[in-house]
Each structure stands twice: as structure tokens, then as C-alpha cells.
Symmetry: C2
Subunit: 100 residues, 2 copies
Amino acid sequence: MSAETPPLSASQLDDIASLFKMLGEPMRLKILQAVCNHPRSVTEIVELANSTQANVSKHLSLLTNSGILKRERDGQRIFYSIKAPLVLKVCDLVRANWLN
Amino acid sequence: MSAETPPLSASQLDDIASLFKMLGEPMRLKILQAVCNHPRSVTEIVELANSTQANVSKHLSLLTNSGILKRERDGQRIFYSIKAPLVLKVCDLVRANWLN
DNA sequence: TAATTATATAACCATATAACGATATACTCA
DNA sequence: TGAGTATATCGTTATATGGTTATATAATTA
């Protein structure tokens, strides 16, 4: 995208836009913040994100299907954690350069 | 967002999500790619992004109002360019770590 | 001033999706 | 097997927004 890099194809732009779209919802960022340090169960995430179980579950599905999170079952509970550390780097970069 | 950084407030998460939302549309990424090297007029951007004048104009307004682009008039034409180089860094980071 | 070029805006439609409530599925343990 | 716990999914509603068409505004030039 910068001057040095070759232009991106339409499908590459679609892929990148899809990732940004995933990161473009405050509730999903809350969820990422809840799991950024170590795996968390859905119940924990619901409490940390201050939302409802159904809503969190839907966002967790989206984040997992897009390759950002991974799921792992332990007994009756399912733990979610970061699969793509890139998203944390991106968030930190924005945090350091965008917020006033 | 990472383990070392303090947690973000709700309003900070909203601000970050808003930026990601701006970057979460392929047409807007096309526009960013069109102006990433030097200022471009709306007509140029319309051609480079392969879209319509009205549609590009609307996206340009959004990108400008959110602080990503800046506008500058020269005669009858208006040139848009990058105001926040952060967005290019973010795109390059994603490009290098997310695309297959 | 009138015509032309360049850009922005308004109205509209279609689609996507976030949130919610209710229900279903899956696992554990008595 | 039945009860309880944990998570996922379904159906609905409300809202946001991308794209289009038509029109408006602004600058240039004849």
C-alpha cells in the first residue's frame, strides 16, 4: 500500500477489508481485550465484555471463523484465545498513533 | 491491548473501532491505494478505483471527516491525500501478516 | 453572462448486521 | 436417566450503510 509495496489486487483488498470489518465493532474489540492475555471461557468473556451470552457467542463465532480466535473445549466449557497475534499488533499500533 | 499495555476504555475502543470500520470497505481501500503515493483529484480517483463519481465522493467525505485524508483545492479540482500515514502502516502490517 | 467542467449532496433502495429473546445442543454429575 | 450448566443457533427487529440517480454548488472559460 505504501510507495514501496506493489499494488494490491481486488481479492487481496477484499481479504484485508474483511479483517478490518471484524475489528470494526467495539464489542468484538472488547472480546479481544478479554482474551488477549490468556484463554477465557464464554462465561468469563460475557462478564468481561458486559454483554449477553447469545451476543458474545455470535461474535465469537465470527471471530473464530475469520481466523482471529481459536476455540478449545475443556469439559463443559469452551475456551477462546488469540490465534492471530497480528490483530493485537494492529490494535496496539492504532492505539499508539490514533488515540488523542 | 497486548499483555503489556493497560486496558482500553469503552470510548477508546469506540474510536479504534471507528477507524477499523473506515478501513473495512474494499472501495475505501482502493481509494487509499489511489492516493497513497501523492495527491489525486476526484476524477483520477474515480478512474483508479473504477467506480462512480458520486460513490467515490461519498467515501472521500467519510475518509476526510474521520481524519484519514485531507483535501486541497487547486482551481476547479480538489486533490485528496493521506493525512494519517498510520493507515498505510496498518495496511502494510496486515498485508505482510494476514494475506496467504 | 452562459456554457462547461469538477465535485458534493440529497433522496432512495437494497442489503448487511448488531442486539435481543427463545430455544436447542452438548457436556457433567447425581 | 434426569437435572443442571455451558454454549450455540434461530427468528425477529431495528438500524446502518453502500450504491445509484438526479440535482446542486463551485470554478473556469468563451
